[in-house]
Chain length 208, copies 2
DNA sequence: AAGGGTATCGCTCATTAGGGGGAGTTTGTT
DNA sequence: AACAAACTCCCCCTAATGAGCGATACCCTT
């Protein structure tokens, strides 16, 4: 059976062109809309396999669209299709549940590949987008802005696992008070007052 | 000028086949090694545009290889080329600075595309890898696997900010012991024994 | 009406953690 | 040689926390 696709795109000519292209290539475009206010219902009723979602639309934007579709019918794959490549919109879409992110400059051939890819459990992204996503993992470069000594980093790593001072001392074969000393210095360097804050800061800023 | 490539792969036949294939397709394979202990120097000396890096190698593994190359010559693009698709190795590689991640089942044609893509500032990933990466942004969906009640989630959110019980009670306009009650229940549901563990678990699993 | 889950609050007790101090050793730098 | 920084260990004291018992009240489902 053909793959069912729904389009959300407020530019009428682009949307109709896309629908035409997709139909010509054997896809079943079961709906195309210029705004996504009713996206949740549309997903429930038409049960599309794939949704192509623009971001900038009158009324509710595509980010809300993804959210609603993912809430009402998670098995539908949503591919963002937009001109925006700024970090903010990108990561909002990803958190909202987007399964792919293509820029509008993507050639139609790649668009068909992307639909295939997302159906096979992939996550099609334009190259510049994929790079941005990968870069979020590499922020460790900023790790040493607090000038933690090697030993302090080691202690912090144990702390982050939720271990108590006593356990850390045992693991590192140190005296209880030595670990406490390190912790005091860590707290000073991180500008925090307790282990909980230190863990929170270390994990959210990916210090270790 | 031709694109300079270095290979790190301990399987001799695979490595030689890859080198052959790449050379046949116009790439300049300036080096191929069965271990990556000297990767930093190799990167500095041969100044490759792209490195294909295996993970499982005798001596130091490819994760260290990426780290060293990225430290000694960041402008070299490193694509992991491995059979591993477990989360742990994947994200270690990404944090180490990998610019792409291809599984060894990738057909050669896609390999060439990937090299092109990474040179153009992209981040080639096998579909299943890309999906894993995107999923890290969406784990909010799995948030409720511990059945935390709304109030408990609220308390946990304050806890994650590093606040003490006293402060949390004040912020939520609750009695000290009420907050402690919620915390006890949270610890039970998360299977942890103290606040530090709870914070660690909540942040690393993005429960809130 | 009864039971389960949630939310609220209370108490005690032992353990843990944090703040304040000091002090010795090694290592590397000036 | 002098100095700083890191690493190690010790003491005292107070505050915070976790475990173990409660309790009451509300809402919802059965």
């Amino acid at each position: 059976m053909p793959i069912k696709i729904v389009l959300f795109e407020d530019n009428d000519r682009l949307r109709e062109s896309l629908a035409y292209l997709l139909k010509m290539n054997g896809y079943d475009v079961v709906g195309d809309y210029n705004q996504c206010t009713d996206a949740a219902n549309i997903a429930r009723v038409y049960e599309p396999d794939v949704v192509l979602m623009d971001i900038d639309m009158p009324g509710d934007n595509g980010i809300k669209g993804v959210q609603w579709i993912k809430e009402s019918r998670p098995q539908t794959s949503v591919i963002m299709y937009t001109v925006f490549e700024d970090d903010e919109k990108l990561f909002e879409c990803l958190c909202a549940g987007a399964n792919g992110y293509l820029l509008k400059k993507t050639p139609p051939a790649r668009l068909f590949d992307a639909i295939q890819e997302v159906l096979e459990g992939g996550a099609p992204m334009s190259p510049v987008i994929a790079r941005k996503v990968l870069n979020t993992f590499q922020v460790k470069a900023t790790s040493n802005k607090y000038n933690l000594s090697p030993r302090e980093i080691e202690v912090l790593q144990w702390l982050i696992k939720g271990y108590s001072i006593k356990i850390i001392a045992a693991e590192m074969k140190l005296a209880f008070d030595t670990v406490r000393s390190h912790l005091k210095n860590i707290y000073q360097k991180l500008h925090v007052n307790c282990g909980k804050e230190a863990i929170a800061k270390a994990l959210s800023e990916r210090i270790v």
